[in-house]
């Protein structure tokens, strides 16, 4: 079995109101050294696949189809073997 770790982030230039709000509250909490915050998604998918390559290919397909919204989001995929 493989576990896919999918990181989904907003594309550059797309407004991230959540990140902005979190950043501001860090500043209020006196973490002045915080320069920027972006909030994305982390999705774990456990797959019954034969090979890491197959799992990877499938995950990319799944991102395109469902997990990420290509209009505003981009994604990164990593596959690890698990039992």
């Amino acid at each position: 079995m493989y576990k896919g770790k999918v990181l989904i982030t907003l594309k550059k230039g797309v407004l991230d109101p959540q990140g902005e709000a979190v950043k501001k509250s860090f500043h209020v909490l006196d973490y002045k050294e915080v320069r920027d915050v972006r909030v994305g998604k982390y999705i774990e998918v456990w797959l019954n696949q034969d090979s890491p390559e197959a799992a990877y290919r499938e995950l990319v397909e799944m991102c395109d189809k469902l997990l990420a919204n290509p209009v505003i989001e981009q994604y990164e995929v990593e596959v690890v073997e698990v039992e």
Partner: protein
């Protein structure tokens, strides 16, 4: 009796609570800005519903770190009455004044409708005008009202009779043990997802919520017992 309605950036039921306390209960009420650091002079606090900080990150999380919160905690610890409604409930959880956490509704949808609640205990400052086992109709409107706590906390809530309201079937959000509202062990802090302020006037189609807020007044005016 003087109520304080705490206003966080993004609160949006603050004016509704203010209206009901002033015009329907006929009690004194003032807003308390989240940037204040004292809640001196108030007899009860309301943490209203809404989307404090846009519900960003986690509902209630950023608001729970507001400057006003330490004084709210202190007020509660001294036995002052605190009611958190909807987002107010979420803030109380994040601030640790009540146990547990809120998850997204199991439907993954925001849900606005009137639900039936069972009053599980009349032995609180918030339900002393109601009866145990009574069924009341109160509106809900939330996307994250799926109350979660672990087995141990649930046992404690049950043992101490801290569960105040449960949803009658169907549970609208998947909350653990159908929980709609709980109090702390000392019974002076209530968090509930449904909105009593939305059903406190006949013209709005129901008055059950009136009795929750009026209970607080009765309890307070009778010297807290």
């Amino acid at each position: 009796m003087k109520f304080g309605v705490v206003v966080f950036p993004g609160s949006n039921c603050d004016a509704d609570c203010y209206h009901v306390i002033k015009e329907v209960l006929g009690e004194e009420v003032e807003y308390i800005w989240h940037g204040e650091t004292s809640v001196a002079g108030f007899d009860a606090l309301v943490l209203p519903g809404g989307f404090s900080y846009g519900d960003y990150l986690r509902t209630g999380a950023i608001a729970s770190l507001s400057p006003v919160m330490p004084s709210v905690v202190e007020f509660a610890q001294r036995g002052g009455l605190v009611i958190g409604i909807c987002n107010g409930f979420q803030i109380l959880l994040e601030a640790g004044l009540l146990p547990g956490a809120m998850l997204r509704n199991d439907s993954l949808q925001f849900r606005c409708l009137t639900v039936e609640l069972r009053v599980e205990t009349a032995d609180t400052p918030f339900t002393c005008l109601l009866e145990e086992g009574q069924v009341i109709r109160v509106p809900i409107a939330h996307g994250e009202g799926n109350y979660f706590c672990d087995e141990q906390v649930l046992d404690e809530l049950r043992r101490n009779r801290q569960i105040v309201f449960t949803y009658r079937d169907p549970n609208p959000n998947g909350s653990r043990a159908n929980i709609a509202g709980i109090v702390n062990q000392e019974r002076n802090v209530l968090g509930m997802m449904p909105h009593p302020e939305r059903c406190a006037e006949k013209v709005l189609g129901g008055e059950d919520g009136y009795y929750i807020l009026a209970s607080m007044v009765k309890w307070f005016k009778e010297g807290g017992r």
